[in-house]
Structure formats: structure tokens, C-alpha cells
């Protein structure tokens, strides 16, 4: 295992290549341009393919084509570009094709700005494209997690034949940290590509394969939609993940994901130093949302959700506690960070101090 100092965006590329992703299609957009630049230089070294597509729309449809052949493929973008990809994402989800999509979030709505944000939570977890579908959404909070979650995303995408999203933000994409890289000589379950008998490869020695999302008969489409629902249910049962920090005796909980969780952790430590019983719940899978960690919180009097938006994940937190615990919100937007002292003040207020 080797340790290297690496930028978050580069770690996405390194993680993808370590997971045997050999196809990357993307279109420039800040703050994730390093991903495409990294792929343009690294993919040829491993016999892979990099295309700078003419648009986000084209890039996601190239992903659709390559994914249909059974190969591992990735695209990346930021909010406005992810909006453009939504048509393709809906098709890929409908066709049950695996792929990895990275969103290094920037400020929105509209052109917004190029500063970091977490305002695409709804878009990633509630749909964004048309129709009844879900995506696996992983939220890293460090460069190491970016590297690890990217590898895991390919594994999960193949396991369930579903697109997986890495939902990061401009801070995570641009920051540099030490990363422990996977040992390429070691047998790695994330790098192993399973058999894909459904893949489009030319019908030599078998019946033809078809990748199609048009199911014109209502009964056929309904059957397909319930089949997808069953799969999503299975994912929800197996794959929910959250990181818990100092929650055991907590009377107040902070709920935050990604970079906000990292800042909140500091605020939790500050409050603990003052004797306030506070802990942190950090959802890692934003879909499926880890609602199970919000159950049976008998000692908890209140939850503070901290996000870099005007309040999105808070809806899932509220759904999870089913009205049993008051849920409050602290957020910054526009590219501003929630400051740990400001979160600390919120915790103190909730603790009656």
C-alpha cells in the first residue's frame, strides 16, 4: 500500500482506474476539471479511453453505450452539467445499466457560481430525471473517502445494475490530503468485474441481447417498475451506511454529510469540551438514506441538521425521526462554509446554554 498526497478530483480518477474503469467521458466544468484532465493523461497509460465530449448530454449517452457493453465507465460534472445529464441518467436507470457519475457540487440554482455547495442533494437523491427510479448516492468527506468510495461505487453499480453517484463538493474536489492507495497486486473485490450475460457484445454464440427502455404495454411497464422497486428495496436493506461520532449518551445530535460533517465534528468536540452531550450522525449513503440510525434515540432532545444549502437533507432526517424529535437547521449557501464556531453556538442554544 502506498501513500501519496493527492487532490480530491485526482483521487476520483485514481479510484476509478483502480476499480478497472477504462472509459471516461466528460465535458469541462468548474470545480471538477481536474478529473477530466487526470483521465486524459492516465487512461491511455492503462489502455483506456478518454473522450472530451461535445456536451454533458453526449457524455452521459456515451456512458450509456459503453455501460451496455459491460465495461466499467464513468462521467463527472458539476450541478449545471449534471442537470443536462439527467435525461441519460433516467434511461440508464431504466435500462438497469451500471455506471458511476460524479457530481462535484457548485453553487446553484442557474449558473450560480463555481464555489462549493451541497445544494444538489435533492437532485441526486430524489430523482432529477423523469420517471420512478433511484440511484445509489455516496457522500465522501475526505480525499481518502473519495478514493475509496469511487472504487466501491463501481462495485455497487455492478452488483445491483444501477448508476451510482459520488456526491462531493468543490472543497473536497480541490483539497489535497494523503491517500492510501489500494494495492493493485492484491485480489480486490472492488476491481473485479462480474460476468454480464446481458451485455451488448455482438450475438456470437447466443441469442441477441436488447437494451431497451420503451415498454409500450402498460402492464409490461408496470411490471418493470415494480421489479425496479424490489431492487431498490433490496439496496435499502443491504447498503445503508452512516458514521456515528460520540452519539452514545448524546442529548443533541448534529446531522451532516460530506464536508459539512467534517466541520460539524469540530463543533461537536468544542461542545463536548463544555460538557454538552452532543454527537454527530454522518450519512454516507444519501440514498439509501440511513434512517435506521435515527431510530430509538430516546435520550435525544433535538437534532441540528447542518448543510451547505437552504435545507434539503433535513427532510430525510425529519422523515426518519417520524416527528418524535424536533429537527432544526443551520446552513450556509452561495459557496460559504458553515463555520464550526457558528455550529457550536447553535448546539449551545439548543442545549439551553
Amino acid at each position: 500500500m502506498s501513500r501519496v498526497l493527492m487532490k480530491g478530483n485526482d483521487a476520483i480518477g485514481a479510484g476509478a482506474i483502480a476499480a478497472n474503469c477504462r472509459y471516461y467521458y466528460g465535458y469541462p466544468i468548474t470545480p471538477q476539471n481536474e478529473i477530466g484532465e487526470y483521465m486524459s493523461s492516465e487512461m491511455p497509460k492503462v489502455g483506456g479511453v478518454f473522450i472530451q465530449a461535445e456536451s454533458e448530454v453526449a457524455a452521459i449517452n456515451m456512458v450509456y453505450g459503453t455501460s451496455a457493453t459491460g465495461a466499467r465507465v464513468m462521467t463527472s460534472s458539476s450541478g449545471p452539467g449534471i442537470s443536462l445529464k439527467m435525461e441519460g441518467i433516467s434511461y440508464i436507470a431504466a435500462a438497469e445499466l451500471p455506471c458511476v457519475i460524479v457530481n462535484i457540487m457548485r453553487g446553484g440554482p442557474g449558473l450560480g457560481n463555481i464555489a462549493p455547495s451541497q445544494s444538489d442533494y435533492f437532485q441526486a437523491t430524489k430523482g432529477g430525471g423523469h420517471g420512478d427510479y433511484r440511484l445509489i448516492v455516496l457522500a465522501p468527506s475526505s480525499v481518502q473517502e473519495i478514493y475509496d468510495f469511487t472504487r466501491q461505487a463501481f462495485y455497487l453499480a455492478d452488483k445491483y445494475r444501477i448508476p451510482a453517484i459520488i456526491l462531493g463538493d468543490g472543497f473536497l474536489g480541490q483539497m489535497m490530503e494523503v491517500v492510501e492507495l489500494a494495492d493493485s497486486a492484491k485480489d480486490d473485490e472492488y476491481a473485479r468485474i462480474p460476468e454480464k450475460p446481458w451485455a451488448i457484445t455482438g450475438c456470437k454464440g447466443r441469442e441477441k441481447n436488447i437494451v431497451n427502455t420503451l415498454l409500450i404495454e402498460p402492464d409490461t411497464l408496470e411490471k418493470h417498475n415494480w421489479k425496479l422497486k424490489d431492487k431498490y428495496q433490496q439496496i435499502a436493506e443491504n447498503e445503508k451506511r452512516a458514521d456515528l461520532y460520540r452519539v452514545d449518551d448524546a442529548e443533541i445530535l448534529v446531522a451532516a454529510f460530506g464536508i459539512s460533517a467534517r466541520i460539524s465534528k469540530e463543533a461537536v468536540d468544542m461542545a463536548r469540551d463544555e460538557g454538552i452531550k452532543v454527537g454527530l450522525i454522518r450519512p454516507i449513503t444519501l440514498w439509501p438514506f440511513p434512517d435506521h440510525v435515527f431510530k430509538n434515540l430516546d435520550s435525544v432532545k433535538g437534532i441540528l441538521t447542518v448543510e451547505m444549502n437552504t435545507g434539503q437533507m433535513i427532510e430525510d432526517v425529519r422523515l426518519s425521526v417520524e416527528g418524535k424529535i424536533p429537527v432544526e437547521f443551520y446552513g450556509r449557501t452561495g459557496g460559504n462554509l458553515p463555520d464550526s464556531t457558528a455550529i457550536f453556538e447553535e448546539i449551545k442554544r439548543m442545549g439551553g446554554m
Binding site: I51, A53, A68, T69, K208, N212
Partner: protein, 248 residues
């Protein structure tokens, strides 16, 4: 006794859903005959569009991917880059290709992707009921140009192979017609050349096929053939617009 005609292996033995007098059935057969003659059925991937030919998978007996409206050339790019030895083609109508899919088509050609586009031009959106297409002729009546296409308001018809001809990545561009036996034979030869250019690694190829749409043209099949000859061929002249050295 020698066999003069046999069943086309790549074509499914099933009824077509197309209207009487529509050219799709003829073009389906031509594509499949060429694939059979090249012995490529087991190495072929077809990309279906959105439009009347969205059900390609029911008629072609080889691997098929159905793409979003206009996106077939991008999907084909993703397939061909992963399967460079396979024959990869898209089958698209005029709305799908020259309107919503213009960008994907132009850039696939600009990159010189080793793919082939079979382009059905019948001057209207067939499946949605006969609206104006980018290829609709001047003064042609459609459901969205009820007084005839007024070029001051709705612009001019697009000549696709001419538009692509300046791109070095496009190596074979032709326009043929499927309205009579002589032209059907020529169309087949052109499809063969386009596929061969792809398999020889030369670059991007496209064959436009002038096609009839009696239902939406509000004509019978015989009238529609006459209308194609008298009106379409003037704006869409037949021939090889571009065939670089090495195409055979």
C-alpha cells in the same frame, strides 16, 4: 438448381408495424442483407432511435440498444470505443438525427468515429403524427405548418450530407432513395460501402435514404412515390457527396 433468393438471416421473421407504402421495411431488409453478405450478424450492434423505427429490436436479429431521442451517435460512440472490432450503426429518422440529435451527429462525424448512420429522410415526424421536420420542404404542409412551410418563419430544409461534407472525419457521405427497384439496388450498394468504410477503420459514414410516408403525407403509396420523385429529389439530389480514397 441454384438459389437465387433466400431468407435474410439478420431480419426477424415477423410482421412489421409500419404503414403500407412506408420505406422502413425496404431499408430494414437492405441493412440486413448487407450485414448477411458481410457475414457480420454476430458482430453487429444496432442503435435504435426514437421515432417510427424505435422498435428495431423486434425486426433485427442481432444486438440492439434503444437510445434517447437524437442521442444514438453518442451511444454508438460509447459502444464502438468499447467494441472496436464490431460493426456499429445507428438507424435514425430526420427529426431524431437532424433536429434534436444534430449536435451528437456532427461531433461523431468531427471525431471521425468509426460508426455508420442510416438516415431515413421522409420530411416529417412520422411517429408523432406528421409535424414539420428539419427536412420538411418549402411550402410542404404538415400538422405544424398547416399553411405550408414558410421559410421566413420556419427556416429552410437541411441537407445533412452536404452539411457534414467539410468534416475530415466523415469519409463516406451519400444520398440514395428507396422508391423504386433501380434506386433500391443503388441504396444497398451505398450501405455496403458505408459499412465497409467503417470496418476498414477509415472514419465516419452516413447514408441518407429518401423515404416515403404516405400516411402523414396524406397520399396513397403510388402518389407518395411520385411526390418523392417530383419534389424531394430536387432539394435532396442523389449521389455520393463524399467518398475519400480507400472507400470501396
Amino acid at each position: 438448381m441454384s438459389t437465387v433468393l433466400k431468407k435474410t438471416r439478420s431480419l426477424e421473421d415477423t410482421k412489421l408495424h409500419y404503414c403500407p407504402g412506408c420505406s422502413h421495411g425496404i431499408v430494414h431488409r437492405l441493412v440486413c442483407e448487407v450485414i448477411d453478405e458481410m457475414e457480420m450478424r454476430e458482430q453487429t450492434v444496432g442503435i435504435a432511435p426514437v421515432g417510427c423505427s424505435v422498435f428495431l429490436d423486434a425486426y433485427f436479429d442481432f444486438d440492439i440498444i434503444q437510445a434517447a431521442h437524437g442521442r444514438a451517435p453518442a451511444v454508438a460512440t460509447g459502444v464502438k470505443r468499447a467494441l472496436p472490432e464490431n460493426l456499429v450503426f445507428t438507424y435514425q429518422g430526420d427529426g431524431d438525427l437532424a433536429s434534436i440529435g444534430m449536435s451528437e451527429m456532427v461531433h461523431a462525424a468531427a471525431r471521425g468515429e468509426r460508426i455508420t448512420i442510416i438516415f431515413i429522410n421522409n420530411t416529417n415526424y412520422g411517429m408523432t403524427g406528421g409535424q414539420m421536420a428539419p427536412t420538411t420542404l418549402e411550402q410542404q404542409v404538415t400538422t405544424t405548418t398547416p399553411a405550408g412551410r414558410d421559410t421566413r418563419l420556419a427556416g429552410f430544409p437541411i441537407q445533412v450530407p452536404e452539411l457534414l461534407s467539410s468534416l475530415p472525419g466523415a469519409v463516406y457521405l451519400s444520398r440514395v432513395s428507396a422508391h423504386n427497384p433501380k434506386n433500391i439496388n443503388k441504396a444497398k450498394k451505398s450501405i455496403r460501402k458505408a459499412f465497409q468504410a467503417q470496418m476498414d477503420g477509415l472514419g465516419f459514414s452516413l447514408v441518407e435514404i429518401l423515404s416515403t410516408c404516405p400516411t402523414n403525407w396524406r397520399m396513397n403509396p403510388v402518389q407518395s412515390i411520385q411526390w418523392l420523385e417530383e419534389n424531394m429529389m430536387e432539394i435532396y439530389p442523389l449521389g455520393e457527396l463524399k467518398s475519400v480514397e480507400g472507400v470501396s
